[in-house]
């Protein structure tokens, strides 16, 4: 652990430091705006450390953590997402009862956990990062503890996440029992021997990871938690927690080629197909917008899995681009929901969105752009993402997956368009919920505007961004 390696660790260090400083700050002044500002500053500082650290990467800091271009990219992505969510949460929490400060603390800690997961090259680091992330999520989901929906979602997520992390641990234990080491590189070296315990172990790890990514057989919790949690937290779960875990899975599969055995690829294919089909079908006739977005996120992880199964050098670029597009779209979508939600209840049922285009045209425009991006219509980042995934599928001739992707995305179109159509419906303007402008909503609208702009730029002219990904994302 020489000086260079320590310097390489600065992003994680700065992040943890800022959470500690935040704790102290909360002790002094309970003002919401300073706490929010401090969180944003902390995230920004960490983000700025990344380019500083980048030149002398990759660094294997202790067998636990590896900081390479890949990890830096995903840590940057996590931080950017967290930063956006801070800006969205601020107005959301501002006109809610209760003390908002601790929320930002949890947010920082969760981001730290996600960063550790993205940078881990050892199962122990992965487990610790994951748990930091999960535990802070339990608290974030149930933050508004007087609302029954939040509590129900919190408790559900707690129990099921705990069960899944138990599965994960047992899997790691079995793999450790078989190979005698928990470092990915060591496991990769001895993966050829195989063995029943390792296989069962890998399967159980997949169960744990599958739960976190809300893939098909383990997806049942998704809709309830997404509906129950406050919109910014839902956005956080849908993007950061899934993104970090998927980054790790991709590293585990792609860099170390541990799971090259046909059985596991078959399992991944089956899970991908199941996720795509189940995700889209569940959302088909759904009338609750948050549940629709939950089920569609299941389907989108299914599409991502296609790229992972396709593998090869292309997989890295495809997954990175798709995750960025997915992050932008989901955060903006839930941002819109957050802005529309009132303190009594969230803007979840579809009737809240009828005729939105005529009442609040800009917000409806953002939400339509996001839905079209989820559907993969051109001029949006989603289109390039879907195009990339299909390209990777076709390049490694995964005809079953590509066919399922095509069919399910047509099904997906149905419920995205149903939402878009609802918004553009000609509805005689009945007195909608009092449109009190939440104070500080300037921040939220600014974020939404930036995200929409980003979406369209990524969709219409993605060349520079693709060059950036190709340069940075490498092991």
């Amino acid at each position: 652990m020489n000086a260079v390696q320590l310097f390489a660790l600065t992003p994680l260090i700065v992040l943890s430091a800022s959470s500690v400083v935040l704790m102290l700050l909360i002790a002094f002044s309970r003002r919401h705006v300073t706490v929010a500002f401090m969180t944003a500053a902390g995230l920004l500082a960490t983000f700025l450390c990344l380019p500083a650290v980048y030149p002398d990467l990759p660094q294997q800091v202790t067998p636990l953590i590896v900081l390479d271009g890949y990890a830096v990219f995903f840590i940057g992505l996590t931080l950017a997402a967290a930063f956006a969510l801070v800006l969205i949460s601020y107005p959301y929490l501002q006109n809610r009862p209760g003390r908002p400060e601790e929320y930002y603390l949890l947010l920082l800690l969760a981001s730290l956990g996600a960063a550790v997961v993205a940078a881990s090259s050892h199962f122990a680091a992965f487990y610790i990062g994951l748990e930091i992330l999960s535990v802070s999520l339990y608290a974030m989901i149930a933050y508004e503890r007087w609302s029954l929906m939040r509590l129900e979602a919190g408790v559900k997520y707690l129990i099921l996440a705990a069960v899944s992390s138990a599965f994960l641990l047992f899997g790691i234990a079995l793999i450790y029992a078989q190979f005698g080491s928990m470092e990915f590189s060591a496991i990769a070296a001895r993966a050829a021997e195989g063995g029943i315990t390792a296989l069962v172990g890998s399967a159980m790890v997949l169960v744990g990871v599958g739960f976190k990514l809300a893939l098909a057989p383990f997806h049942m919790w998704t809709a309830d938690v997404y509906e129950g949690a406050p919109p910014p937290v839902t956005a956080y779960i849908a993007t950061v927690s899934k993104g970090a875990v998927f980054a790790l899975l991709l590293r585990y599969v792609n860099q170390y080629d541990v799971l090259a055995s046909p059985q596991v690829l078959l399992v991944l294919t089956a899970v991908a197909v199941a996720s795509m089909v189940v995700g889209n079908l569940l959302a088909l006739m759904q009338n609750n917008v948050k549940r629709i977005l939950a089920y569609s996120s299941i389907a989108h992880l299914g599409y991502l899995l296609v790229a992972l199964v396709a593998g090869g050098a292309l997989a890295l670029t495809v997954v990175s681009y798709y995750l960025v597009a997915y992050f932008v779209t989901t955060i903006a979508a839930f941002g819109v929901i957050a802005v529309l939600s009132t303190s009594e209840r969230d803007a979840a049922p579809i009737d809240d969105y009828r005729g939105l285009a005529w009442r609040r045209p800009w917000l409806a425009g953002v939400f339509t752009a996001m839905l079209l991006s989820l559907a993969g219509i051109p001029l949006t980042a989603g289109f390039i993402g879907k195009f990339y995934v299909v390209a990777s599928g076709v390049s490694s001739a995964l005809w079953l997956l590509v066919a399922t992707l095509a069919i399910t995305s047509v099904i997906g179109l149905f419920y995205y368009l149903r939402l878009v159509a609802a918004m553009f419906e000609q509805v005689e303007t009945h007195a909608t919920a009092a449109r009190e402008e939440p104070v500080g909503s300037f921040a939220a609208t600014a974020v939404l505007a930036v995200l929409t702009l980003l979406l369209v730029v990524l969709g219409a002219y993605p060349a520079p961004f693709i060059r950036l990904i190709a340069a940075t994302v490498s092991f």
């Binding site: 408790v155 559900k156 129990i159 099921l160 069960v163 899944s164 599965f167 029943i196 296989l199 069962v200 890998s202 399967a203 159980m204 997949l206 169960v207 599958g210 739960f211 098909a216 057989p217 383990f218 049942m220 919790w221 809709a223 309830d224 059985q263 596991v264 078959l266 399992v267 089956a270 899970v271 189940v278 079908l281 569940l282 088909l284 006739m285 759904q286 099904i411």
Partner: protein
């Protein structure tokens, strides 16, 4: 002067354009002058060009004038060009002269109709289309004219559109002729694809050079062209539309359904006679169809009550005669009968129009009667026409044209005794039903009152046509009666003479006498049955067989009944059953399936944490199972 050939169709077209665009704003007299004038002027130009053409050496060949190339694409370049030769000159003269007379007649006949300009616009468009058809030098332009006349017949039959029966009759006419046209257009494709051109003259030269007599290609091509001819000339099996076409104004029936359009089929076969010569089977078929049609139509005409329907069936049977002549190779005889028929049949229709107008639209013969004294001019002109139709020997031109056909039916190489016998039987029937009509309308006691007498504008055409139908026949006399060959000589350049085996010449006199006898006997029979002793006819009609036969003939020998059962009814029912497009059912099924799956899956989202934990457990088991056992 002959360079102004394109002026002939252009004039009526100009009339059409002016009338259709500005007609409703012009006063009635201007509309009449424009309508009739354009056709009249075109007739004058046609006569001038005719005189110049006949006197010049060109009469042996043809004069072609290209106006613009319609389309040129890799060898296929039909152009809008008009070709004048003796055959097309004859057609042009008949169309324009008879057309002008009918236009003159309709100036008064349609005087009290509110859509006056629309009527004359359609009539002018019809004359244009007919002239284009006749003057076309390539089959594609001919097809343009062909469909144009079909369109005008549709528009004019359905002229009084307020009555749905007329509109249905118009649609029936267009659809049935369209069925024939489709056969013809496939014939066009076959001809172009195998001979590389559609220009008629060149086509015939290549056909004769490439196809031996009786070759499959020639037969198929001729048969397909025959389809078109059958449709347009209302021959078996596509003849049921003509009787219903009487729903249009009477001058329309006179022009379109007597003189010009229905004979377009005859013109087509005459124009492409080399092709039919190459396909003897098809030519024989033409003859047989001709005979069959003339008999069927003859019998049907016997039983009709409506004045115009009798004339319609009589038109079908007279065209049957022309087909018979074409079938036996007597091309010029067929065209001769066409010319004469144009005169006396349009005369009869115009006469019928005068009768109908003067008795306030009374068309049922049994409610007319005794008009001899009240409408003298109409009576005498109608009698002249009827005599010519019934082929009263020696004095009427109808006798000479029909006698020639009967003679060639017997004597020609391709002719046979049976064809002759059919023709003679037909002649008998023709004279019976013609004079039945005359006696019922003009003789016996007056059953209706005459309200209005036709004016000069209606009587002049009647008189001119009467003179023509009496005199015109003398330019072509048979061997025994002076042997004048003016007409066939004139057409000789285009249409070859009839091949007669040597031994037959002597029989011409005898057959002529038999034909004359048959016509006179027919007239006497009609006098006997329908004027002197009507009870015989009534008693015969009252017997069981008589009544059935009468109904059969009334229905036009049941073809309509057959088509209704065989074609129309199944098509309509299938269409109605499948209105909502059964293919859509499969997509509805897919949507239903998706929704069913959705319901099933959303049932698993029970909201209970423990159920979700079970889900995780089951999922884990499946994955571990797959990892271990597969």
């Amino acid at each position: 002067m002959i360079d102004l050939l394109w002026l002939i169709p252009a004039l009526p077209f100009a009339g059409f354009l002016v009338l259709i665009l500005a007609g409703s704003r012009l006063p009635r007299i201007v509309v009449a002058v424009l309508g009739a004038g354009s056709v009249g002027f075109s007739a004058v130009v046609a006569c001038l060009i005719g005189i110049e053409f006949i006197s010049s050496p060109l009469v042996k060949t043809s004069f072609t004038r290209t106006v613009w190339t319609w389309m040129s694409f890799e060898g296929f370049s039909p152009s809008t060009s008009f070709c004048l030769d003796s055959l097309s000159l004859l057609m042009v003269l008949v169309v324009t002269v008879v057309g002008f007379l009918i236009h003159l007649y309709s100036v008064e006949f349609m005087a009290d109709d509110d859509a006056y300009h629309r009527y004359f616009a359609y009539m002018n468009l019809f004359v244009t289309a007919m002239l284009v058809l006749v003057l076309a030098d390539n089959l594609m332009l001919l097809y343009l004219g062909w469909e144009g006349v079909g369109l005008c017949s549709y528009l004019l039959i359905g002229f009084w559109y307020k009555d749905p029966v007329n509109a249905r009759a118009a649609m029936k006419a267009f659809v049935m002729t369209r069925i024939g046209d489709t056969g013809m257009i496939v014939g066009l494709f076959l001809l172009y694809n195998s001979l590389g051109t559609l220009e008629i003259h060149e086509l015939m030269v290549r056909a004769v050079r490439d196809w031996p007599v009786g070759s499959v290609m020639a037969t198929v091509a001729a048969a397909l062209l025959l389809c078109g001819a059958l449709g347009k000339s209302a021959q078996l099996p596509l003849q049921t539309w003509l009787p219903d076409a009487m729903a249009g104004p009477t001058p329309v029936s006179a022009l379109i359904h007597a003189a010009t359009m229905v004979t377009a089929g005859v013109y087509l076969i005459a124009r492409t006679h080399e092709l039919f010569a190459l396909a003897p089977a098809v030519q024989a078929a033409v003859a047989v169809i001709g005979v069959a049609t003339l008999l069927v139509a003859g019998f049907s005409a016997l039983a009709q009550q409506d004045l115009k329907r009798v004339l319609a069936y009589s038109t079908i049977s007279q065209i049957g005669y022309m087909f018979l002549a074409l079938g036996v190779g007597a091309w010029s005889a067929a065209m001769f009968h066409f010319a004469i028929h144009a005169f006396f049949k349009s005369l009869l229709f115009l006469g019928a129009g005068a009768i109908i107008m003067s008795t306030h639209h009374e068309q049922n013969m049994f409610r007319l009667g005794g008009l001899r004294t009240q409408l003298p001019v109409t009576f005498w002109t109608f009698l002249a026409g009827a005599a010519s139709l019934a082929a009263l020997p020696l004095i009427t031109s109808g006798f000479y044209s029909k006698d020639a056909i009967l003679w060639y039916a017997w004597s020609s190489e391709k002719g046979s005794v049976w064809l002759w016998l059919g023709g003679v039987a037909g002649a008998l029937l023709t004279s019976i039903y013609t004079f039945r009509m005359v006696f019922l309308i003009f003789f016996g006691e007056a059953r209706t009152k005459v309200y209005k007498r036709p004016g000069t504008a209606m009587l002049v055409p009647l008189i001119v046509l009467a003179v023509l139908s009496m005199v015109a026949g003398f330019i072509e006399l048979p061997h025994t009666l002076g042997d004048v060959r003016l007409f066939s000589g004139y057409l000789g350049a285009v249409l070859p003479p009839v091949p007669i085996p040597p031994g037959q010449a002597s029989l011409e006199g005898i057959l002529g006498i038999v034909a004359a006898a048959v016509s006179v006997v027919g007239i006497c029979l009609a006098y006997l049955l329908f004027l002197k002793v009507p009870q015989i006819a009534d008693r015969a009609a009252s017997t069981l067989a008589g009544r059935a036969l009468h109904r059969l003939w009334l229905e036009g020998c049941g073809f309509d009944w057959l088509y209704q059962r065989l074609l129309v009814f199944p098509f309509v029912t299938i269409a109605r059953i499948n209105r909502s497009d059964f293919i859509d059912f499969f997509y509805q099924l897919a949507a239903f399936l998706a929704e069913g799956l959705h319901q099933g899956l959303s049932a698993t989202q029970t909201g209970r944490t423990r159920h979700y934990a079970v889900g995780i457990g089951v999922g884990a088991l499946i994955i571990i199972g797959m990892a271990v056992w597969l």
